[in-house]
Amino acid sequence: MSERYPELSFQAQSLDNLALDPMEVNGCPLEEKDEEERERLVQRIAQVSKSGTRVFSEGSISAFRLGNEFILEIPSDQKDSAGRIAPIICYGHVSRESEKSWPDEVVSAIRDFANRIGRGVSDQAAVRRGIEAVKKNWISRLWVRIKEWLSALGRKLRRHLALPSLSP
């Protein structure tokens, strides 16, 4: 049995556009009765897609970032009943991206989900580039935040050091 990745969620649309859309949250498949959780996942994906920044776009693969949330949209090898591209979405939070193994784990997680729902994702190199873009974007944002934090700290320190000399 393939491994499940607790920090990632997945969504796909059924190939016949009729059956329940496959979804997984925190490694658990969502059934029809899990209405609230299904809607919540769709809404988070929509929010990242609507308000996030597109950090990667190559062919039909795209990646978005919103704060520490990300989504990756990847076309599966299969087409739907109308002959359309049938993508898979991977949603997650970037929390372990500094670990060297993270991009490969996400690639495997996407491949495993695709396999579980009877699909394939051939262009794994492109998927990896998408994940690297998500990660890079996070690092550059983190760096911006660290710089802002350092300069705010510097200002505070200067003010703190300057105050005694100003007081009578």
Binding site: Q13, M23, V42, A46, P75, R84, I85
Partner: protein
């Protein structure tokens, strides 16, 4: 916040449709479409993305993709027979029932709601298609009830697509048989139920056609906008 379609319409030609049996008052249609927000809703695969593409680019997409996450559609200006439409940015929504919250967000802001359904499936009495339409229309009915007393209700258009795949093919029927066939489709219990749930025939129009080609899509869209006047 989703940005539904906002239409600004400019007249470019005379106020009569040369070939139309009924003389349309384009001035009135233009006034009624100006600045209006449109929400395009419907189940998976009914043609939402195709219609949005046509409205925002003037083209029908050659290759397509399931809309699994809602996306932005950049609008622009295009001419449609007597009308020159300026469509602003919009959102293309997924068709799965799990996206109802997103549908509602768009619905709540819309002046015009286009609800798409596949007439080929409904003509065949496909139970699954009928159930999905019924489920969607129950939602729409409840959203209309919520909006009542708050603001003018959005006008609803029930738009039948895939008429080319219906048996018989709606698009190739001789003109003299078109009317009867369309009336038969409109009389289907499921279509009647849609109209009733959407607030009755004074608030709801049914437009039937196909989006197989650009020409057919143009005719369908023209048919929708022509109905705007008769709804007032």
């Amino acid at each position: 916040m989703p940005l539904p379609i906002i239409i600004a319409v400019v007249i470019v030609l005379a106020a009569t449709a040369a070939t139309a049996a009924i003389v349309l008052n384009w001035d009135k249609i233009v006034t009624q479409l100006k600045g209006k927000k449109i929400a395009i809703l419907g189940a998976r695969g009914v043609g939402k993305t195709t219609l949005i593409s046509f409205l925002t680019t003037g083209c029908v997409p050659e290759s397509s993709k399931q809309t699994i996450r809602s996306g932005n559609a950049k609008g622009r200006r295009f001419s449609l027979r007597e009308l020159d439409l300026k469509i602003k940015d919009t959102r293309d929504l997924p068709g799965g029932p799990d996206a109802y919250a997103e549908w509602k967000e768009l619905f709540d802001e819309a002046d015009l709601v286009f609800y798409l359904l596949r007439i080929d499936k409904l003509v065949e009495s496909d139970a699954e298609a009928e159930n999905r339409v019924r489920r969607d229309m129950k939602q729409i009915e409840s959203w209309l009830k919520e909006l009542k007393d708050q603001r003018p209700l959005p006008r609803l258009f029930i738009i039948g697509t895939h008429g080319d795949l219906a048996n018989p093919d709606l698009t190739t029927l001789p003109e003299n048989e078109q009317g009867n066939y369309q009336d038969r489709i409109r009389a289907l219990p499921i279509i009647q139920e849609c109209v009733q749930r959407a607030g009755g025939s004074h608030n709801t129009k049914v437009v039937l056609g196909s989006m197989k080609s650009k020409e057919e899509t143009e005719a369908l869209v023209f048919g929708i906008f022509s109905q705007v006047e008769s709804q007032s």
